[in-house]
Amino acid sequence: MPDLERRFTIRANDFVNAGEVSLEIQSILKHIGFNPALIRRISVCAYESEMNVVMHGGDGEALLKVSPNSVTLVFTDQGKGIKDIELAFKPGYSTANLKHREMGFGAGMGLPNIKESADSIEIHSEEGHGTTLNIGFELEGDFG
């Protein structure tokens, strides 16, 4: 059983509130008192994942699980799924549309950035059946 668990709803194409879930996650982690560098890594992953759900995932949710020695983020969505996962992790590869690009998104760095910042990453996706992204962070000692 994790010691702290929070669930957040993410809405498809809601660019007005996009980023709010990541900010909330960041604020919870700050209150718990993890070290700033770790919080920063988690925030980057949370933000990139949240934007992925907003842009490609349809409606979805984020789950934050915190225990004294690990932090886990799970993003689940009911979107169109990822056709070629290996390709999706290639820096610069993007399926973002023109509208996303006009807003400054879709550089194809989302998943590569997450992979770089996380300690472990697990992804399950089926075309037409959505995606589940499980991102793990390990903590050393009591202060992260």
Partner: protein, 434 residues
Amino acid sequence: MAELTHTLSRGSSVQIDETLCNGCVLCMKACPTKAIRVRDGLARIQGVCVDCLECVRVCPRGAVKGVTPPYSDLKNGEHYVVSPSSVLYSQFGAGFLPNDILLGLRAMGYGYVHDQSYTSEIYNFALELYIREERKKPEPKFPLISAICPVVERLIAYRFPSLLEHIVPLATPREIVTREAKRRFSDKNKCRPEDVSLLHITPCPAMSSQLMEHSLHDASNKDRAIGISAIHERIRQKAQEQAMEQDRVLHYSGGVGVGWGKSGGEIAALNAQSLAVSGLHESIRYLKKVEMGLLEDLEFLELRVCTEGCIGGPFTVADRYQAKHLIERLVRMFGEERRVKYNYVLKLYNEGWFRSQWKRVPLESGSPRLSISENIERQNKIEDLIRKLPGIECGACGSPDCRTFAEDVVDGIARLEDCVCRQDRGRREVAREC
């Protein structure tokens, strides 16, 4: 050289006049660090104040004040060096040029008047050199964040400690002025720098607190800071008398130094990918963005918590938009470039003139530090409590919002019974049962 810890000032220039405060929630709700509570019908500061003075701006009764020492507390004298912020040039209307104002200050009896705007121009070049150095590092800390606004510095240290290493680590113009003005004066007058006292004239309460808490480097306990508003009238009188005698030049800077105090002043002549943001909430919004890693394409970010920059500072006299207009005119008059020579600054830079041996550290709230497990437990308790609260953020309990109230209850500094909405709900339920 040993690294010294940069103890940020914990001082606050905010004072609450209990005879005027009626215990409303406005200042408490405006505070970006949630440092204010209303207890027994009075606002009190009990957390970390970053000296932004947002509480002063929102108080409709004038009960919350930013305090600057009065002019009568200052001693004039030959060993007193005065250094005004360039914001002063925008406070007297179009009839006064920077040199008139500096001549006025000299005529007030100060031994030496140091034109801070000139130092700002020198610093601006050094900043550019530092950015160039950063570009060559394998992992540059971009965007670098300006160290000019002391409130931004304190906000980062308290709310965004992971960004401390993004703050430009050079000695700031106010620190350089503190060191150089004294050195120059003592060289010229054959006395020891320690015997020289420096008077800063500033629009900024946080800068003033920094000095009074002795956390401004190279400052001594003889140095003073005074708000522009406290000395403005006297300077005007003297400057008017001096306006006819244009024989001495005390003002050396170009438009960059003159425009330093307005938002965008630091980036006006900077050869770097840069952006200027002003206003408390906008600055916080940008700090959050940087923390999320969103602005890595940017090399330099100028943040000032006062809207329109330091010309909107709490100790100013002129309206910030009129001041901005005047500054823009002066910038056109003095040219949009720096008057300092590049090679001169490069030499100073390589000699270590701008090096600061201070390391910035996080600002702690002072409450006992809990372990991660204890904090997780605390967060769960807070979350359980929040579910019992109305979530209308009224502040009537004396805490700024429902979440902070829940924290206060868990920490034992408020009682759940203080929630007015819960009391009311209880009453209504009792009434229905009767």
